[in-house]
Amino acid sequence: MSKSDAVTPFSRQPLAYARIPVLSPEAAARFAIDVLGLERSDHNELAFRSDDRCRSIVFTDEAAPLAIGIALADEETLERKAEALSSRQVSVTELDKEACRSRAVRRAFSITDPTGHSIELVARVELSARRLYPLRDSGLAGFSTVGIRSRGIDADVRFWCDTIDAEVADRVGDITYLRMDAAHHRIALYPSDRAGLVYASFAVKSHDDLMREAYFLEERQVRIVHGPGLETASNRVFVRFQGPDGAVFAFEFNGNEEQGDRRPRQFALDRYALCAWGSSCRDVRELAAA
């Protein structure tokens, strides 16, 4: 049964937010507004929204670990999950009221993946009643996907599948795409020798928007590290580019997304398995085929 019609532990939008540690938060904030086209959602924090939710990304102190918010269906599901994990000797920490406020959620429990990222299981993600209206017309549809590094791919895949209840959608070499809802994947794990974010990706509304963004980035002399391309396994069109401090962000168009109830496919790791159009990535080791 697929995640789309089964009783799923996840909320309708399972990828809630990413808290991204950065070296120079002010530069990152300017980039989020000018280049990503996000809307600042909190004046005390460097928090930004890209859709109807109050938070998509928050820039945090460089000492903090990367944190990914995963939204569960409701508070009961979250409590049951926390109890179940505790009984399995998984270390679970409930976040306090202030931490929840900062994340714009009502309840949150934090666990750590084998690579060392903080994975925050949350419930009741707050929406903003005010329609998103960012400064520039980027055609933003919302926060969609994160790529994260994995120091031990087998242990991390087991963690996401057994502890979080994600499913393997497809694999390219050892790169593993994880499904949590009807989308092909929300999380992509990339084998690496370190921890951290590979990219945070925002969906745009049309293929035209995606290509306009690609030329906008070029014009603004933002370094495009991969694409425009077509992610082979998911059939998403993407452009990935360098933000401040080496963080990579991406736009993607999911209009012709591969969905399907099927066993995960295994692709050979080559350039065309990562981009069906043939674009290659030289700057980010994890995104390069060779």
Binding site: H207, D208, M211, R212, Y215, G229, L230, W277, G278, S279
Partner: protein, 283 residues
């Protein structure tokens, strides 16, 4: 009025036939239909050929349109002569060299070589390009114009072309439902500005972009999308400076009566709605 029913082929002179064939097959993705002593016939669809390279001056560039029959061809010759355009009636060997049963040659007001043909040959053998470029067929040309307003009048009053849209004074003209078969391009002299082949999908355009970039083929415009025809496109340079285009998703104008040409400003966004910039430097 001369009724053009379709575009048929392009003939290009080249000093290096081997190089031209190599580009046309390995890079562009056409298929050799036939090799003559001093010419090569290239296929892109069901027709026996849509592009012919022959040993000659690369400034010799000819575009051909099909007319209905011999009567229409004779009438066209008469009409052109009556307004002072000298007409050359193709000989049997010239017809054979073009794989047609009859043709006339003349120059448009800019001095472009134009041929009107009857019964261009089809081929029963399926087109299968040298590389998987997704080509579905030869589609249109951009034609140099030293006076786009004058030339629009020629193509729309002496011939049956209809203006689909204009960018500044540049007319995009159709002879059938396809948004444009003939696009005028301001230039200082005659010549074919670009040769278009349609491909199956936007993915083909993008795959070719990376394939051609890998092979150091100069990309002169795109990947982009024309706001006029709606087509996604890629322009790149071939032998002797000729520019070729792949595109997909050209609008069709089915309701002749209801269509009113739109006017776009003469500016980059009228050529690409995504923001790519043209680097069309004539050579």
């Amino acid at each position: 009025m001369i009724e053009l029913i379709d575009i048929s082929y392009v003939r290009l002179g080249t000093p290096d036939l081997g190089l031209a064939e190599d580009f046309a097959t390995r890079v562009l993705g056409l298929q050799v239909g036939e090799r003559g002593g001093k010419s090569v016939y290239l296929r892109s669809d069901r027709r026996a050929h849509t592009l012919c390279y022959y040993e000659g001056d690369p400034r010799e560039q000819t575009v051909a349109f099909e007319v209905r029959d011999a009567t229409a061809l004779d009438a066209a010759a008469g009409a052109l002569e009556s307004i002072g355009h000298p007409v050359h009636r193709g000989t049997a060997s010239e017809c054979a060299a073009r794989k047609v049963r009859g043709f006339i040659g003349f120059k448009d007001p800019t001095g472009n070589n134009v041929e009107l043909v009857i019964r261009p040959e089809m081929s029963g053998k399926r087109y299968y390009g040298m590389r998987d470029a997704g080509i579905t067929g030869f589609n249109h040309v951009g034609l140099n114009s030293t006076d786009p307003v004058r030339d629009e009048k020629f193509w729309t009053t002496v011939c049956n072309a209809r203006v689909s849209d204009r960018i500044g004074d540049i007319a995009l003209m159709r002879v059938n439902a396809i948004h444009h078969t003939l696009a005028l391009a301001p230039a200082s002299g005659p010549g074919i500005q670009h040769v278009n082949h349609q491909v199956e999908s936007n993915d083909d355009v993008m795959r070719s972009f990376y394939h051609l970039t890998d092979h150091q083929v100069p990309i002169v415009f795109g990947p982009g999308r024309h706001p006029t025809s709606g087509a996604c496109f890629l322009y790149f340079r071939g032998p002797n400076g000729m520019v070729f285009e792949y595109s997909v998703g050209v609008d069709e104008i089915q309701d002749e009566a209801a269509h009113h040409p739109r006017q776009f400003g003469f500016e980059p966004t009228s050529l690409c709605m995504w923001g790519s910039k043209s680097n069309f430097v004539p050579t």
